[in-house]
Symmetry: C2
Subunit: 237 residues, 2 copies
């Protein structure tokens, strides 16, 4: 294979190397699983030390554009929500994003994923969604289990929307959700209220299984109304 290999110029060698390597991916039409040249080869092509190449590759690995591994050549990676999750969590930790803002984004997007899931879910996805909702109901008494099923359910719905960007974004909120979910749960002091939350998830799952986009949208919005109210009640925001 032939690579366009101008030697680097600008002041920041690593930044230039990142640009050159992403261009390699673009112009080589590389797909997930394909390999980049070895570090030594890149070092020679771009006329910089292996140190610079490694720092550039680590940067791309942090963004999940490539996968690295001992003994393995750098590999083009699949989309993954882990790196976006780090960004979001950093925003929250450093007070640049608050929880209510994240819930507003989730509400906006998930009303749409619920609708799309109702229209597009495969049979297997429908079964997964329903079983996760039922697992929530069955796990009553074990908040951590309920939470994990809840998170998995929302992600399953996002995947069933068949739009990987929605799945990416919703997946990125997992970490933050894991930290705030117990707050909302505790604010639902009443046992009826807690069962109602689980029941609402089951209704939502059924709407998606039934292929009823309007009902799915309405139920997802209702769910977020209640979740946000619970967080406000708890004085989170």
């Amino acid at each position: 294979m032939h690579y366009s290999s101008e030697p680097l110029v600008a002041g920041d060698f690593v930044a230039s190397a990142i640009v050159s390597i992403t261009r390699l991916i673009r112009e080589g039409k590389l797909k997930p699983g394909d390999h980049l040249p070895a570090e030594a080869a890149l070092s020679e092509q771009l006329q910089v030390s292996r140190t610079v190449i490694r720092e550039a590759l680590r940067s791309l690995a942090a963004l999940r554009l490539v996968d690295l591994g001992a003994g393995k050549r750098p590999t083009i990676a699949q989309l993954d929500d882990a790196s976006m999750a780090m960004m979001i969590e950093h925003g929250v930790v450093t007070d640049q994003i608050d929880i209510l803002q994240i819930y507003d984004v989730r509400r906006t997007i998930e009303a749409r994923t619920a609708m799309l899931a109702a229209l597009r879910r495969t049979e297997a996805e429908a079964q997964l969604i329903l079983s996760l909702a039922r697992a929530m109901v069955d796990a009553s008494g074990d908040p951590v289990a309920i939470m994990e099923h809840d998170i998995s359910l929302h992600i399953a719905i996002a995947r069933a929307s068949r739009n990987p960007v929605f799945a990416l974004i919703i997946g990125a909120f997992q970490g933050v959700t894991r930290q705030t979910w117990p707050i909302g749960w505790k604010s639902r002091t009443d046992d009826d209220e807690r069962q109602a939350m689980n029941a609402l998830h089951e209704e939502l799952a059924l709407a998606i299984v039934d292929g009823n986009p309007h009902a799915a949208t309405v139920l997802m919005n209702r769910h977020f109304d209640q979740s946000i109210k619970a967080l406000l009640t708890a004085g989170l925001i």
Copy 2:
């Protein structure tokens, strides 16, 4: 200041260093502009070579959690859409995301940002939004100028929503938009059609200036209906 400094254990030194450094940020309650310890200090605290520390810091810099600069200690960074933009573009380049999916996400989110902007925009934001829409109208005949004003307008609306997560996501789509916008433009062969697009943006801007959330939502949805239709007409998808 005191840092929790367990020496690293796991197999992947760099990954462990990333975790430790993010913990430093979290537990130190560091905010944008604050500094991390110098590379040499981190190297000693975490008991790994400076090589490992540097690769970890480069990873965090790629995600925009920290800023690096010659002579300067690593600095906690502000949220920035550049790294998310790289992820999205990689998804498109490697056929993991298609353009229609991005437009669906934009439509979903921007209907909301338009509504929120109408409710929350400051006077300065209102003026900016209106002037960008008018600049689009005035730039007729210069597609590149129209495109840049268009992109700036959508970002200004997202910022006026006062939710940084929306601004982050919409900002991340800039690069892709810059590549696909001309396609939609060319598919609007008729001059009336092109003027109508600009006029629609101006109406949208006025709805936001007037503080009319319902009109803003409707107009933004109409805009995306037309944009998506234009891309489909052009056979993009």
